[in-house]
Symmetry: C2
Amino acid sequence: MSADEPRWLDDDEQATWLALVSTAVRLPAALDVQLQRDAGISHFEYQILAGLSMSPERKLRMSTLADFVDGSLSRLSHAVKRLEKEGWLYRTADPADGRFTLAVLTDEGWGKVVDAAPGHVAEVRRLVLDPLTKAQQKQLREIGRRINNAIGPDSP
Amino acid sequence: MSADEPRWLDDDEQATWLALVSTAVRLPAALDVQLQRDAGISHFEYQILAGLSMSPERKLRMSTLADFVDGSLSRLSHAVKRLEKEGWLYRTADPADGRFTLAVLTDEGWGKVVDAAPGHVAEVRRLVLDPLTKAQQKQLREIGRRINNAIGPDSP
DNA sequence: GTCGATTGATTGAACTTTCAACTCAATGCT
DNA sequence: AGCATTGAGTTGAAAGTTCAATCAATCGAC
């Protein structure tokens, strides 16, 4: 678009940027590999099941869940249809307001998360937590907070 | 799978992890939005064109390019076919070894990158560089180096 | 030198995600 | 009450990605 003095990236900035994109591109892929191999589900599907499993009644509205997993409502709807077919959750209209749909985790779905969680957590430790010092973990929290804030709240 | 004392995440670890996944999931999406809007291409396609534009003769072997963009050869092959159809590059067998394919940027492709780059760089500054102090940028380089190292070299 | 194994890349089918159009329930306006 | 409007979710088709099979060129062992 407009080229108002583009201000190119210097070497340090370039290095910072490349390090981050590389992580941003490869981390989700690495999580998918572990979950697909050990549990037969994608990271996105895991997040759906995990989100429901951590909520009060093991149920959430579709739109709340979409925010939680950082995905569009349409993507979520397709994914939930697949998970429903597996018997891990079911959908029902929210009694409080029929415009909302509640996704509810079944006992089978709960079992699935309980099975998958330890392996997933181990992978998170291996890839992210273990390689960093406590100080770096703290730095990463603050850095992440700032970047996520710049990206802004979810719009999908 | 096996549950050898899962060692759950404590609150700080959980916060660190959530901050990072959120960035890893939303940053690529945010880059796609800007590039799609302003240049009509995805971030993946931009990386392909940018990778070629920065290489010595504006040409790279498919496998080298696949490493650079962190994607599978198959994914790259499909994407390059689309870009070739647009006239932004063409493919030719490597004279040095006929098993390799060289992707070569055309003048139109060069023009496309030159047009798209300033807007992309501005977005990178806005989302990542500007919100961080110089010290944090340095911290992020080291943190990224460690995580990327744990993820390992590319296997796709 | 030839034959089998290996390597780089492409292809097509299956699957997933996106996009836009649509449905349905609840609300607001008059 | 009657009827447009809004917001949540779904759907189907198009676009993109993955997976497995395949092809073509080179390397290596004999």
